[in-house]
Symmetry: C2
Subunit: 245 residues, 2 copies
């Protein structure tokens, strides 16, 4: 039973850039389509997924400049919690998911971001690792665990998990490491684990309050315990995923 | 400066099976070549990397049966620490590295295994996740973080890391997720991280006291901070990796 509707505006991208394009070219023009409606002329950028915060922020600034979206890096803020509290939009970039989540815990940003996004309706835009941390947990990241966050629980802006950069298994492969699908199935052998939305590159999820739609060009697969895998095409209505179990 | 030699007999496999073969067929026949010299007619098997301990142990038992190597699953032992202490050889199987390492911590087996292997000279054989946990840390696993171990520090039977199932980047790929090589390089952006030996499928490392040799059919790459990546062919002497920094 749905108790009350949640104020929420999220764009969660599988990836930021397509092969042969400038960094963020793919995602930035799509994000720009929401700029006026969602009031995103200025955004706080969280670069913790990479270690070169200044360089990373400059790259992102450059990508959004043509659209008139102003980017401010949180690493420059004296008080990162205050920066989140006053942000008009929050953009969270990809890189290493463990590093990103540890950064959010280290700077005590989990609760402030949740509050801004879920209570104040501040738009959240994430790509790759930035989408992983928006979900229930980072348990379905593809990244290497290069640092140890205190928990894998994440921002839980949605009650499911995302697997970004999803790739379907190659039937001709002789590689013996697990396929992406097998890795997600191993996760679901653990009781009580949430659904996993596997976003192919070129896909993103648009969440507005209690509605969620699959956008982009490449579709997604949905993994749920005890159910067959489902395939979804672009524009599919995935709002049912927002009903918490 | 090397202070004293370490007693140590390890076989660390990238993977257990090659495409189209029975489970463990590839590794078991190679492990058998060490059976008499290393006294491995009976081994304690640690199945924690998968959740189906009994099924997993049965599969491993079956694979080693033709060679007269008797397998006992640690999950049947009333006291897992005592089982490690009395083991004549320790075999650690692949699956999910996080689940495996958490199992070792939960059952308080880190120190007992280290003691058996490094002080009593008990042979240790690992494949895939079982090789990851033998090293300094699991920070270079390919697996998904489906459970949260209290630390990523592992058994440290060797002072470096392994990346199993290593795959070279495909120059024709349009996938935008990080290549394996890029993931390892991100790890090495963190100061003080140990070398990473990237074992292609079909490779394994033989460690005897202070000697280490690359074995198998497919070679390896070595990643070290501040040094160019090095390629090694089968039979290469990698003993220099055992000198702790
Ligand atoms: Ca990444
Ligand atoms: Ca594995």
């Amino acid at each position: 039973m749905k108790m009350s509707s949640t104020s929420r505006r999220l764009l969660l991208f599988s990836n930021s850039s397509m092969a042969g394009e400038e960094y963020l070219q793919f995602a930035s023009s799509l994000i720009n389509q929401f700029k006026d409606g969602w009031g995103m002329s200025k955004a706080l950028f969280i670069p913790y997924a990479l270690r070169t915060h200044e360089d990373y922020t400059e790259k992102v600034k450059k990508a959004f400049h043509p659209f008139g979206i102003e980017i401010e890096g949180i690493h420059k803020a004296e008080d990162p919690v205050a920066a989140v509290r006053s942000a008009k939009a929050i953009f969270v970039g990809g890189g290493n998911t463990f590093q990103l989540l540890k950064g959010l815990y280290d700077h005590k940003l989990i609760d402030p971001i949740r509050k801004s996004v879920l209570q104040e309706g501040v738009p959240y835009v994430g790509w790759s690792a930035g989408s992983n941390v928006a979900t229930a947990s980072i348990c379905t990241t593809n990244d290497m665990p290069i640092v140890h966050p205190p928990s894998f629980h994440a921002l839980a802006l949605v009650p499911f998990n995302i697997n970004p950069h999803f790739v379907d298994a190659d039937p001709n492969s002789t590689h013996m490491g697990e396929t992406r699908e097998q890795r997600i199935e191993q996760y679901h052998e653990i009781e009580g684990m949430p659904p996993v939305l596997a976003l192919r590159e070129g896909s993103f999820l648009e969440v507005h309050d209690d509605s969620a739609f699959l956008r982009g060009r490449s579709g997604a697969k949905l993994f749920r315990t005890g159910k067959p895998v489902e395939a979804f095409e672009p524009e599919a209505n995935l709002s049912f995923l927002l009903e918490s179990s």
